[in-house]
Amino acid sequence: MAMTSLRPCGDYRTSYQADQTIFSTRLTLILIVAAIVALCFAPMFLSRYVLSLMIQIGYLGIAALGLNILVGFSGQISIGHAVFFGFGGFASAYLANKGVPVPLAIVLAGLWTTIVGLIFGLPAARVKGLYLAIATLAAQFILQDFFVRAEWFTGGTHGAMAPPFELFGYDLSGDTRYFYVVLFFVVVMYLGATNLMRTRDGRALIAVRDHYLSAEMMGVNLTKYRTMAFGISSFYAGIGGALYAHYIGFMSVEGLDILFSIQFLGMIIIGGLGSIMGSLMGTIFMVLLPELTGMLASALQGSTIDQVLHLKDGITYMREMLIGATIILFLIFEPDGLAHRWRLIKAYWKLYPFSY
């Protein structure tokens, strides 16, 4: 945070446009584009398992970004993000089953979730902090209950089938093809959020978070922006959930519990509150951590350590314990998240070997 500028020596900007770009230097732009191009070729080389992990990172990353806009950027707590994710999934499945083309259904599901999010965001106009947390907790339980009871919408406890993703009659389901769909949405949604945060309404959201009294004096309508943050956040959650539904092909109320909501919070805390790329980093971390601990657990299985310590069944619980421990360690040692760590690394290389 303390770095004023990471611009390399000799990088002179002669227009405001050049100074307002998303990517600070030409090199970062090239690297990002190269990374996206490389990802386009990924399905040719990577196994389906790795691809499925990347797709998971994609749709969870979109939803996590939504939560980060709400919690990180506008400074309001929500512990009901999972139900908005779920609502998007159910809405998209419902619309697609009614005959709406799937790509359109995903977008419409996002908008539908936005409306629901705005309704549940209304208390935000009145209450803050812990009280708001309780209000969002209500959203979690109300919607979760709604999913079980509204059989016309969700299929009740049986769940709803979500048709595969098709574009112009071309089937894009299956790991290798669906990967591109998710990649497209991730790029669009992340670019959208980045643009939002460097324009009027994004700045207003951050202003409301940092000092709402002076934001109000600057002409920012607090009620509007506090509620709007919920709307935008729900839109992202809805899109993420819809992508999930059409990937799995089935949407069920199971798993949309408060633990899932807290997992989203874990993602953005680890990634970095108030950082767009941090949301993605945190999601990658949270998706890969269980894989890592799973590998660790299977490596431990039957080993000397296992025998000496009599871990036996305990090994399977290591995953949960490690996730908990990681969040605690992050809160202690890196409260600004992975994004901050990344900035420090960049600063280090800027100053290496000599600072000028």
């Binding site: 945070m1 303390a2 004023t4 500028s5 405001y16 446009q17 100074d19 307002q20 959208g192 959020a193 643009n195 939002l196 460097r198 324009t199 009027r200 309404d201 994004g202 700045r203 207003a204 951050i206 202003a207 978070r209 940092d210 000092h211 009294l213 002076s214 934001a215 109000e216 004096m217 600057m218 002409g219 920012v220 309508n221 607090l222 709007m228 935008i232 108030g274």
Partner: protein, 283 residues
Amino acid sequence: MSTTNVVPQARADSHAILDVDNISLRFGGLKALSDVSFHVKPGELFSIIGPNGAGKTSMLNCISGRYSPTEGRVRFEGRDITKLKPNKRAAIGIGRTFQNLALFSHMSVLDNIMVGRHHLLKNNFFSGAIYWIGGAQKEELEHRKAVENVIDFLEIQHVRKATAGTLSYGLRKRVELARAVALEPKIILLDEPMAGMNLEEKEDMARYIIDLNEEWGMTIIMIEHDMGVVMDISHRVMVLDFGRKIAEGLPAEVLANENVRKAYLGEDDLEIDGASVHEDEVA
């Protein structure tokens, strides 16, 4: 003792940009302001002084909409704004800075000042998100130019990309002023713009305020404790004590006022001398 003989009769001035009529503000049993009236003419540099707790900031809060006065009304350019929401007042031309730093501390200086342009910008969450399509970029860049003007004026070019929370106190005060100026207000309310500054910073700030007033043509209402500055740069001064107006007039008149001496500067003549010595230093 009666104060009526020392308070210049506040006349309803049709040329005033801001009319404050008989404002009273009560918090339960506490009377923060009682029956205060004053009128500020366009282009004026008007100072409000008074001992701590006299109700100066409460007065500004009534004008900026933070507080709703219990009685009385505030008119801006002839329009009654007593009940107008605070966030609507930026658009009609009222800007302000705060006594305690109120920057958006995690945003860059540039973004802080850009928030000041909020009411002048048209793009929204949708057109902003599709930045390149639909003109949001063009608009942002145009306003960036205007912001750069303000940055140039207040000489904060070197910190424009710095995070506001990392700046020194004096610079933060200046950024806050920049943010209020970026609003393009007709009237700007400054709540202790020089508090906690060293002499050099105070001189700079006084110069900025004079320039804003004379070159940018902004009407200024200022609360300030530094008597030297107040007496030097203000056109007119109003004195509050315990929520009541005890004097109003030219700086020299106010300084000579018996009530002001008692209430604010102290009865001791030595204090007055101290203030005038200080005045020389700042000028």
